[in-house]
């Protein structure tokens, strides 16, 4: 059965460096709406760099290639424009920002997106109701409402907060950078539930992960292995299981061969 797929993200021959060092060496990837992709790979393979480059971090210099998001030149957009257009990065290490309230940030973020879409600002009462509902879903404590952004949060709380932000902002494309790392099994289930709730024929999710564990809960359509700044192998979910069994040396060896 053939199904018409809309291309959401198209990365072609992407090369990027930071501080003069090449990290990405010609990445090619196409993500269609409705799909979940997992990008796996050993430490230092360029997974986080790819995520940061896509989100618009200026420390990385793109030296070659192109990225389109819904047909638009993503690399020509500033980080804030990408966010408003519906791209979301879940950080591997979410920064603590004491003095900036969690709820304030969420509201400002949501309103920035609505403004860009020509929609009115969210009603304060409705907004709080929405936050409370999503917090309950993510099993987060009420104290979150009064605290600074990620301030004093445990590793697990920070990751839940990233997913909460994602659920509130409802991005078209969510890139989650090792959102599963450092989570105990209960937290992993909650985070997975959050990610799964966003699955939708119009959206896509890119999971950047080191381990296969998360993929037991969020079943990917495609799995890619990033090594040496390039995607060296792609497959379906069974690739993740095979990687778990045989280790990354297996793919890296295959690359050489």
């Amino acid at each position: 059965m053939l199904e018409e797929r809309t291309i959401l993200l198209e990365i072609s021959d992407l090369t990027a460096r930071v501080a003069g060092k090449e990290i990405l060496n010609g990445v090619n990837l196409t993500v269609n709406a409705g799909e979940v992709h997992a990008i796996m790979g050993p430490n230092g393979s360029g997974k986080s760099t790819l995520a940061q480059v896509l989100a618009g971090r200026e420390d990385y210099e793109v030296t070659r290639g192109s990225v389109t998001f819904e047909g638009h030149d993503l690399l020509a957009m500033r980080a804030e424009e990408r966010a408003r257009a519906g791209l979301f990065l879940g950080f591997q290490y979410p920064v603590e920002i004491p003095g900036v309230n969690n709820v304030y940030l969420l509201k400002a973020a949501l309103n920035a997106k609505r403004k860009a879409a020509g929609e009115p600002e969210v009603d304060a009462y409705d907004f709080l109701a929405l936050i409370r509902q999503k917090m309950k879903f993510m099993q987060m404590s009420e104290t979150f409402l009064t605290r600074g952004v990620n301030e004093g949060f445990s590793g697990g709380e920070k990751k839940r907060n990233e997913v909460l932000q994602m659920l509130v902002l409802e991005p078209k494309l969510a890139i989650l950078d090792e959102t599963d790392s450092g989570l105990d099994i209960d937290a992993l289930k909650v985070v997975s539930k959050g990610v799964n709730s966003l699955r939708d024929p119009k959206r896509a999710v890119v999971l950047v992960t080191h381990y296969q564990r998360l993929l037991d809960y969020v079943i990917p359509d495609q799995v890619h292995v990033l090594s040496g700044g390039r995607i060296v192998k792609s497959g379906d979910k069974s690739l993740a299981q095979e990687l778990e069994r045989r280790g990354y040396d297996w793919v890296m060896g295959a690359e050489v061969a």
């Binding site: 980080a79 804030e80 950080f91 920064v95 973020a109």
Partner: protein, 447 residues
């Protein structure tokens, strides 16, 4: 001898001796012998007083115009009522609060003086006349320390001062409004003594404002003495005009289990020198000092804190946030001294600076001098621009750059602002602060 020194000596010779004459004499002789502090003096190395030294100063008198008494805010709140430059509404119109005005250092103690239970309000001069021995302890013997140089001159030349005796629990904040009026060729020497009896508690806000484009040189001193278990929240808010020069010193002496929370807020003035010297004299004494130093346009703010742990089990916290834009310069030097035998002393110094312009400068220098073995002393100082990780995080959530930057600036100052328990003062200070920061319209939304 510099022109300034000569003019101060002329004033000294011209004045009629009063009951404080022996104390004044000693201070003036010391001052004339030591001269004005210069860049060679340790605590003055960042502040060049040469142009000040080259000027002559006459006495800024008390009777500039009819008293402008009344509540701090009241009808026609703010600048209109006070006629001061950028005067802040530190207490709400409806709030129960009392205000005393000191014009060029002279307390205006007329019939409309507020009556507050458990605070006695007196003129230092009158009280000294009645009983010289009573106030003598608040005038220490002359010191050669360079940070105390201007205090010597204040002691010699202050016309009158305010003595506030706190005898019980006072819920009402008391505002002392320092109004600088006159020309830049004059000098005033405001003096205040705050004396809290054992177990007493109060909130006192000193608010420095000036009228017109130029103002007399202000050389103010406040002496705080806290009895056993006394509690004081003290503010000094500098909100004078851009042409004003203000040299302010604060002495805090704390007895057993007393608690002092002190806020130094620099939001005005052209040249501001602010010093704090605290002595934790008995076990259990605790000081929390918060400094919010805002460099704006060409302002120069030089803040010196010296905290001495003179007894075991004393505690001090210093939190300073400096922010500098345009071509301003902000200096924060803090020193903690732990005397021999003051075991169990616990101190923390946190100084952070934020540069908002490539031409602005911030210098912070936390220092420790420890003569005891069992102490806990921590200090940290950082100065830089906005954190790029924080900025990227906010941008990646869709906030525009100006909003993200402003939000981080405001967050940077939160450690000082959130410590204030007088909410009206905090709100007024936030408002004034915002108006001196870039993208102030955006910042107003965060409040």
């Amino acid at each position: 001898m510099s022109a300034a020194l000569r003019s101060f000596e002329t004033q000294w010779r011209a004045r009629t001796p009063d009951a404080l004459q022996p104390i004044r004499e000693q201070a003036m002789q010391r001052f004339l012998k030591l001269g004005l502090p210069s860049l060679r003096d340790e605590t003055w190395r960042y502040t060049d007083l040469r142009s000040l030294a080259a000027s002559s100063y006459g006495e800024a008198g008390c009777a500039v115009k009819a008293p402008d008494a009344g509540a701090e805010t009241g009808a026609g709140a703010g600048a209109g009522a006070i006629r001061g430059h950028a005067a802040l509404s530190l207490v709400d119109p409806g709030q129960h609060a009392a205000t005393i005005t000191m014009r060029n250092g002279c307390p205006l103690l007329g019939a409309d003086l507020p009556v507050i239970n458990d605070i006695e309000i007196n003129s230092i001069k009158e009280l000294y006349k009645q009983d010289p021995s009573y106030l003598r302890r608040f005038f220490e013997s002359a010191s050669d320390a360079d940070q105390r140089r201007w205090v010597l001159l204040n002691t010699a030349l202050f016309i009158d001062g305010l003595y506030l005796k706190i005898t019980g629990t006072v819920a009402t904040p008391l505002v002392v409004r320092h109004l600088s009026q006159g020309g830049g060729a004059q000098a005033a020497h405001p003096r205040i003594i705050i004396d809290a009896s054992p177990g007493a508690s109060a909130t006192i806000i000193e608010h420095h404002v000036s009228e017109g484009d130029s103002a007399p040189l202000s050389n103010s001193n406040t002496h705080i003495a806290l009895g056993k278990g006394a509690q004081l929240e003290h503010y000094r808010v500098y909100a004078t005009g851009a042409g004003a020069t203000h040299l302010d010193s604060l002495d805090i002496h704390q007895s057993q289990d007393s608690q002092c929370r002190q806020f130094t807020i620099a939001l005005g003035g052209g040249l501001v020198r602010s010093s704090l010297e605290a002595r934790l004299n008995q076990p259990g004494a605790s000081l929390e000092s918060y400094s919010l130093l805002v460099g704006h346009e060409e302002r120069h703010v030089d803040c010196v804190n010296i905290v001495t742990h003179a007894a075991p089990n004393t505690r001090s916290r210093q939190t300073a946030r400096a922010i500098a834009s345009d071509v301003s310069r902000v200096i924060f030097n803090s020193k903690v001294i732990v005397n021999a035998g003051a075991n169990g002393s616990d101190s923390k110094q946190s100084c952070r600076g934020l540069l908002l312009s490539p031409s602005a400068e911030i210098d912070t220098r936390p220092q420790l001098e420890i003569h005891a073995d069992e102490v806990k002393c921590a200090h940290g100082a950082t100065t830089g621009r906005l954190d790029p990780d924080m900025l990227f995080y906010l941008l990646s959530r869709g906030l525009d750059r100006e909003t993200a930057q402003s939000l981080l600036v405001f967050a940077f100052l939160a450690d000082v602002l959130t410590g204030m328990s007088v909410s009206s003062a905090r709100a007024a200070i936030e408002n004034a602060l915002i108006s001196q920061l870039p993208d102030s319209q955006i910042l107003r939304n965060f409040r």
